[in-house]
């Protein structure tokens, strides 16, 4: 059954500070949605709202038309799972124990561990290539291994909609690609809906079917990366002048930031996504800065 997760006019915030005001979003089932935006644009807040970690001050998040806050927590947990940005674990926990805890929503009051639990956990660990780590302690692992273990836990929960808050932070580029490939694989082979917050616009464009661009608690653009990642929208969301070029690997839009010192972009007539104004007139263009003076100015 297709699970439909929607934010309907939600306002979200912490204590007195409102981060998101009256926002609507429909998570596209079976697709990978990536949320991007500048710092403090409300990306993580939105994700927390979708995962019912934050109660909306107004509006509601619905799962198949029913208010998620009114549904039993365990039942929602079998459909929607969230991996927080910095999850915590008790000292000394083993990988097998941690991944196994993802099965909690599938367990009853008395039935603690079934063969389905065992198989699902084993599959999640095989998929994330963590099966060799089963008896190791989480704290003894490298950052990349640890992140794969956390994702294994999220996969063991076996949600149809998987939310991830910056799953690639603190990872080097190799491990970033590894994690994103893993999620893509999960999406393509199992149809798992993935919603994640990413910082890297180029990776976001490459892996997203749908891109949600946010700024100051609003959605600036929502759609296929080719339509949403234009120079205008990048400027609007990030206050950044950039060239958009096709990614040589897979053709998705690639954001090439201009910055203050590297204003002279080579002319390129072929790319229609590039607005004519952007390369010619960066906001604070520094004319012909010599490398030496550039270094001095940076200090």
């Amino acid at each position: 059954m297709t699970q439909l997760l929607r934010a309907e006019g939600v306002s979200l915030g912490y204590d007195q500070t409102r981060i998101i005001d009256n926002l609507d979003l429909e998570v596209v089932p079976g697709a990978i949605t990536v949320i991007v935006g500048a710092n403090a644009s409300g990306k993580s807040t939105l994700l927390k709202g979708l995962a019912r970690l934050l109660k909306p001050d107004a509006g509601q998040v619905t799962l198949n038309g029913r208010n998620i806050a009114a549904l039993p927590g365990k039942k929602v947990a079998t459909v929607v799972g969230l991996l927080p940005q910095q999850p915590v674990a008790p000292d000394g926990i083993t990988v097998a124990d941690l991944v196994g805890r993802g099965r909690y929503p599938h367990q009853g009051w008395f039935r603690q561990w079934s063969s389905t639990d065992g198989e699902t956990v084993a599959a999640a660990m095989a998929a994330t290539n963590t099966d060799q780590l089963a008896s190791r302690r989480l704290e003894d692992l490298s950052g990349g291994q640890r992140q794969r273990v956390w994702i294994a836990m999220a996969l063991a929960q076996d949600p149809e909609i998987l939310l991830l808050d910056e799953p690639t932070t603190f990872l080097d580029v190799t491990h970033q690609i590894e994690v994103l490939d893993l999620l893509l694989e999960r999406n393509r082979e199992r149809g798992t809906t993935v919603v994640m917050v990413l910082h890297d616009l180029n990776l976001a464009a490459r892996y997203a079917d749908h891109l949600v661009v946010m700024r100051a608690g609003r959605i600036v653009a929502n759609g296929a990366p080719a339509e949403t990642l234009t120079a205008e929208i990048v400027r609007e969301a990030f206050d950044l002048e950039a060239l958009i070029r096709p990614d040589p690997v897979c053709g998705s839009p690639m954001v090439v930031p201009i910055g203050r010192f590297h204003g002279r972009a080579p002319a390129s007539g072929s790319d229609s996504a590039v607005p004519s104004a952007a390369p010619a007139a960066p906001p604070t263009a520094v004319p012909e800065a010599a490398p030496e003076s550039r270094q001095i100015e940076r200090v």
Binding site: K75, G81, A126, E178
Partner: protein, 353 residues
């Protein structure tokens, strides 16, 4: 894009099941070892004293075939004391384990954050000012623990309770309670103050079967509930966000578990006084021994029982002659260095229980 693993391939669950079984077996071995140690200490404290029995004599007495004097010494004097020591050890240990796990802070135990202190203050107030007898004093102690715990919870509440705020406020409350205790003792008659001080150290001597049955009933009711909640507790160990994501109502679960933990600490304190540091050290020692990041509640309970029984045994026989110390002095002597060690090392890892 380069594919990495072959997903969809049915994974073999056997190696994982093997790993899990290994972890379980290891914990079971530890539990059995602790049980063995407890039986040995228990046998010692039943057999040894001003009148010592041999092992066959002890077994004979325990099966009801001892002489009259043996029956009296073992069954009426030593067995109640041992039973109470075991039960309050379990109650304190589980209480501390729950506090520390739920609040994710190794300093969060009822004796550090003033819950047992509240019980003491109320009990001493009852004894010295209101002239309470033994039963009323126990009730006052129970009420004191509950009142202090509620006060800490309400003061720490800010749209939810965060572990460190709860602990800081608890430590502050503990100091206030200490001040109150000091005031009560300084105003009291010397003889009364002597009696109150003895209670304040905590002792299982003079154990009565009615105290024992109260503690036993509370444990019989609460331990199965904790067993049922252990899945939620394990989810809560992963932080509020993940717990919620797994379908555990974090705030509500925390409240329920704190209520249980307070009830355990209050019951144990009402029965024997605030046995210092048992709640504080039992669970961390158990986790260190088991070493799997699991709850290790059974091991913690056994270690609590082991500490109280061993401390009481030592308290009875450490000093030459007929001099007898209250068990609380021994547990304090174990706990205080542990606290120092914890304060010296815990922040290097930065994480709590």
């Amino acid at each position: 894009m380069a594919g990495t693993t072959v997903f969809g391939l049915k994974a073999d669950a056997a190696p994982l099941a093997h790993t899990r079984a290994q972890l379980r077996r290891r914990e079971r071995r530890i539990v059995l070892g602790l049980l063995g140690a407890l039986v040995i200490v228990g046998a010692f404290s039943l057999a040894i004293g001003a009148y010592s029995l041999s092992v066959p004599d002890l077994l004979r007495t325990l099966t009801g075939q001892g002489t009259q004097s043996e029956n009296f010494i073992v069954l009426s004097l030593r067995l109640p004391r041992l039973t109470l020591a075991v039960l309050v050890g379990v109650a304190f240990a589980i209480s501390g384990a729950l506090f520390q796990t739920v609040l994710r802070n190794p300093l969060a135990s009822p004796d550090i954050i003033g819950v047992t202190g509240g019980a003491s203050a109320a009990a001493v107030f009852g004894m010295l000012i209101l002239g309470f007898g033994a039963v009323a004093t126990s009730l006052a102690a129970f009420a004191g623990a509950i009142i202090v715990a509620c006060a800490i919870y309400l003061l720490a509440w800010r749209g939810g309770v965060v572990g460190y705020r709860f602990v800081l406020i608890g430590v502050g409350v503990a100091f206030m309670v200490q001040g109150l205790l000091g005031y009560l003792l300084s105003r009291a008659d010397l003889n009364d103050a002597q009696g109150a001080l003895l209670w304040l150290v905590g002792s299982v001597s003079g154990a009565r079967w009615q105290d024992i049955s109260v503690v036993a009933v509370v444990l019989l009711v609460l331990l199965p509930i904790i067993r049922l909640l252990s899945g939620r507790l394990r989810a809560l160990q992963l932080g509020d966000d993940l717990a919620t994501s797994l379908g555990v109502g974090a705030e509500r679960t925390r409240l329920v578990l704190l209520v249980i933990a307070v009830a355990l600490a209050a019951t144990a304190t009402a029965a024997v006084g605030p046995l210092a540091f048992v709640a504080f050290v039992a669970a961390p020692i158990a986790r260190r021994i088991v070493g799997s990041g699991g709850l290790a509640l059974i091991s913690a309970a056994l270690i609590g029982a082991l500490i109280t029984t061993a401390a009481d045994f030592a308290a009875q026989h450490l000093l030459p002659g007929q001099l007898e110390l209250p068990a609380g002095i021994i547990t304090g002597a174990i706990g205080a260095p542990y606290l120092l060690w914890l304060l010296a090392t815990s922040n290097t890892t930065g994480k709590g229980a």
